[in-house]
Symmetry: C2
Subunit: 252 residues, 2 copies
């Protein structure tokens, strides 16, 4: 049997506001969750500042070794929005005003004071690009080759992801199920390792926490093969119970 193809994506989060600590990123988690539903695995993320060289380096490294590469941030109308120019530079192409984007923005800004030069910046795309619809705020996202250029504001990105749902080729989504246990993870480390090695194809993550004065952990079993995940969860639950531990199916 041929090994199952794993489709991967990278995400580049662009913005000084993330690196300064001013803004808590929310795009990594939402893009990751969305990708998983498409059967695509988020393989790596980079956060870079609003600097052309940093964006070019990240784009060229990550688009080459992943099926898809997403960016968030830096596509607005102001001087610090340099994503489109940096990506065009990375691809070695020019920047053009996309006619459909001009039409969308003209309509959007007609009752809002008109399409100024600054606003028309948001119609600029790398040559050869297509648009990703944005139902929320006019300025569209951009697709060029395997690159997907999206907004920094999380709810606008959510709308763009929604427009892309079902359009990208992927494999089977990863299924993950949790087993919660009121235990210090260090007490059951051997048992977890055994559960992983005896169920080839799963990965098990162990995520400890402190809550209500008690120590616990969630063990998350992941694989694209749901039947395998279920067998592993059943065996792990049985082994934890046999060791006298307090287990909660589905996680705590």
């Amino acid at each position: 049997m041929e090994p199952e193809r794993i489709w991967t994506a990278a995400l580049i989060v662009i913005g000084d506001e993330i690196l300064s600590g001013r803004t808590q990123d929310k795009n990594v988690a939402q893009v990751a969750s969305w990708l998983n539903v498409q059967g695509i695995r988020l393989a790596e993320v980079r956060v870079v500042g609003d600097r052309t060289e940093a964006i070019v380096e990240a784009v060229n490294a990550l688009r080459a070794r992943n099926d898809y590469c997403f960016t968030t941030g830096g596509i607005g109308p102001t001087h610090d929005d340099i994503t489109v120019d940096a990506i065009a530079e990375a691809l070695g192409v020019g920047v053009v005003h996309h006619p459909d984007a001009m039409a969308v923005l003209t309509r959007y800004y007609e009752p809002r004071g008109g399409l100024t030069e600054a606003r028309a910046r948001m119609a600029r795309v790398p040559e050869g690009a297509e648009l990703i619809p944005n139902r929320l705020s006019g300025a569209p996202g951009i697709r060029v080759g395997n690159l997907f250029i999206m907004a920094g504001v999380p709810h606008i990105t959510a709308g763009m992801l929604d427009a892309l749902t079902g359009t990208l080729e992927g494999g089977r989504p990863v299924v993950s199920k949790s087993v919660g246990c009121w235990v210090a993870e260090s007490e059951v480390a051997d048992l977890l390792r055994t559960a992983e090695t005896t169920h080839e194809g799963v990965s098990i993550g162990s995520y400890p926490f402190f809550r209500d004065g008690r120590v616990g952990a969630n063990f998350v079993v992941r694989s694209p093969d749901e039947a395998l995940v279920d067998r592993c969860v059943a065996d792990l639950t049985r082994d934890l119970e046999a060791a006298g531990k307090d287990v909660t199916g589905g996680g705590i």
Copy 2:
């Protein structure tokens, strides 16, 4: 006058749980804010999975081109905690049980069932490493060369950062001040660009939002030179008011 030295750091967030979307990262923002107080700029972040090659590649790329390189995640007692081994591999050194860490863990686990082999894993460090105290949960962080290896659980990382406060050489902290304005950023794009170019040494970020049915933006002026930031904020406020905009000092 010699140009002011900028001290930089990189952060590598290690963990499948971030890339799967299961866990919302909180370490980027907290490390970024802490670094800024130390006069060190967070220059780049990578998020990688629990895979040796990915960790080795990121560590070697980022420690070489930054003054400091921090990692979070993957230093617990279970099979998916591979950070120490991967970093030792990146550095080309062996892994040893640090005697002080063994002593700390022995004391910590004495009333908790004793120091098992799994727990003793948390005393393993790359050869030549020092410890970073962890007052919260026993297992220490690790410093080796310009690498700082910290926990994934944000409040434990916070404690480790606290222990490092004031011990790293840095420059002047970046000062940032905000000007809030009930305006679509696209209306004032030219004015912002002018404010940045006429105050050499500042960067101005523009962060739009939608709130209570209204469009607004915060303009964040950043520089290590506080007097320069103040002059830029005053000029920008004056220009926005002269353009008839509704300005809120300190941001909205």
